[in-house]
């Protein structure tokens, strides 16, 4: 997987707090929550540096957390399953060209038959390598 140096990222919080993150540190550039977002039972983050998805199971509801993503070559959805239960995460590494886009969603699913739970997928978001 291609690695790039990321510029220092400055994050200004809501109350004006200033944090400085160093290059190479795991930074989620975007995230999605499964529906309903208020419980966010499945949370997926994308880190542009290294093109890394993290799939979090955040609620002990008996469902798996699922990542769905589509690539710029017209393929997808690809799946990233986290069947390991509440409080766990699964990492999915991609290898994308710099500047390339990926569109993804967070959903709940049943790992046994690899089915999605209807109505739980997030709207989706586009992020970039």
């Amino acid at each position: 997987m291609r690695r790039r140096l990321r510029n220092t990222v400055v994050v200004l919080g809501a109350v004006g707090a200033l944090a400085v993150l160093v290059p190479g540190e795991a930074v989620a550039d975007s995230s999605q929550c499964s529906v309903p977002s208020s419980t966010c039972a499945a949370r997926v983050t994308f880190q542009s540096y290294g093109e890394v998805f993290r799939v979090y199971d955040q609620v002990g509801d008996g469902h798996s957390a699922v990542l769905l993503y589509w690539l710029s070559d017209g393929s997808g959805p690809y799946y990233g399953w986290n069947p390991n239960g509440n409080g766990t995460q699964v990492t999915v590494d991609l290898d994308l060209a710099e500047g390339d886009w990926v569109f993804y969603r967070a959903c709940l699913g049943e790992y046994g038959d690899r089915s999605l739970v209807a109505g739980t997928c997030s709207a989706g978001v586009t992020d970039y390598a």
Partner: protein
Amino acid sequence: MGTVSRRTFLLGGAAAAGGAVVLGVPRWASAAEPTIRYPFTLGVASGDPLPDSVVLWTRLAPAPLNGDGLGGMPASNFAVAWEVASDPAFGSVVASGTSTAVPANAHSVHVVAGGLQPGAWYYYRFKAQTHISPVGRTRTAPASTTQPSSMLFAFASCQHWEQGWYHAHRFLANDQPDLVLWLGDYIYEGTSSQATDVRGYTVTDEVDTLAQYRQRYAQHRTDPNLRAAHAAAPWAAVFDDHEVKNNWAGNDPTTTSPEPGAPPIPSTRKAAAFKAWWENMPTRIPQPTTSSIAAYRRLQWGTLASLHLLDTRQYRDDQAPDGSCPVMRSSTRTITGATQEQWLLDALATRSATWDLLGQQVFFAGRDTGGDAADCNDMSTDAWDGYTASRQRITQGWVNRQVRNPVVLTGDVHRHWAANLHLDYYTGGQIVGTELVTSSISSLGSDTAPDLSRMPHIRYIGNQRGYVRCRLTPSQLTSEWVGISSAFQQNPSLVTSSVVRRYAVLDGQPGLVSI
């Protein structure tokens, strides 16, 4: 036609834009433009060539699959520069300009690049902020009074996104045709069945809003083979039913229905579907502003060919009930509408070209798989069989007008077909025309062979996915049905194409000739 240097293209906008404004913003761009990521993810296209101009198309979409259908673009206008050159390195730019991509049109751009030479090949590209698009290849039509020695064109249809990979587009692009005719079903509006197909929609419900239609078009354009086919040659595109709703019929919202007796499609849905189609096609037809669109039109290829692009959806009567011979054969029914029918017949009367090609959507020849004239249960009520009076008027019309070489080009049916045309498909008799039917790019098709002994005018059926490639000369049309080895195999190195059938149509002799 003046020549503009590459340097002029890169720098020439500065004066018009009032000079440099902000570091990182191109000198020619508006200071109000938010900075965007690379926006040419949907590629470039060209279409509807005339002897002196061609339509250039692109759409800015840095995030093409976003659910709002806006491609990740801010709600601002964006300047899009374009240039046309006679060489792929853009050393000799022959036309250039700047267009404005607006949010109301999903930042699509339709440029009529004029002042071009007839019968010439060109290269084109766009620029937005610092981003430069891929290069497209296009051409103009020959001058109206000249007869070119040949024309290579391809026609294709039916590219269900989920049901197959678009390898056929790759082979079509490699053919480098003079023109590509798209005969409908560019998208499918239906719900996703991605669990069993090769890839999946991001919008899994049936699309029926402008945002959803836009998003679905964008998803199709993320396919690199489709983008390559658009970039390889100018297209002339028409829509069929799935760009709106399966089997929709008619322009009157009070009678429009997807199936006989079904509720009408809301005019707002048709308006959304037409707008999204227009936004995504390289066409010179006017932008639709209502639930109708002026889609039928004509292109001329010198005196070699007249290409009549028909609309068999907007003006048709509702489909007949299944098996209803009295309705299907009613003398008052139409699939084109009276105005379009007269427009076609008037054009055919001019005999302005050696070949008259009717590019249209649904099966024209009789296709009664039962072969019993008294039983209409084995015919499609959606095709011309469901509108036999319409077919009769047009066929008799070209016979009466002594049209020398009428050839109907068709899509829709997901299989290759070839047929001789008659005035009566049960009694046969004189061959009065020819129909060439392309299979689908990717949409699944039946592999159950009908009994051709009941339809002797049909000469060929093929079950492969693919397209049709035609070489047209003053003396002969040579048609090759191209099939691909698989639309299910993603790996392009494992997919091949081949000519699965070849026929000729000879000048002045309607009908298929084996070669």
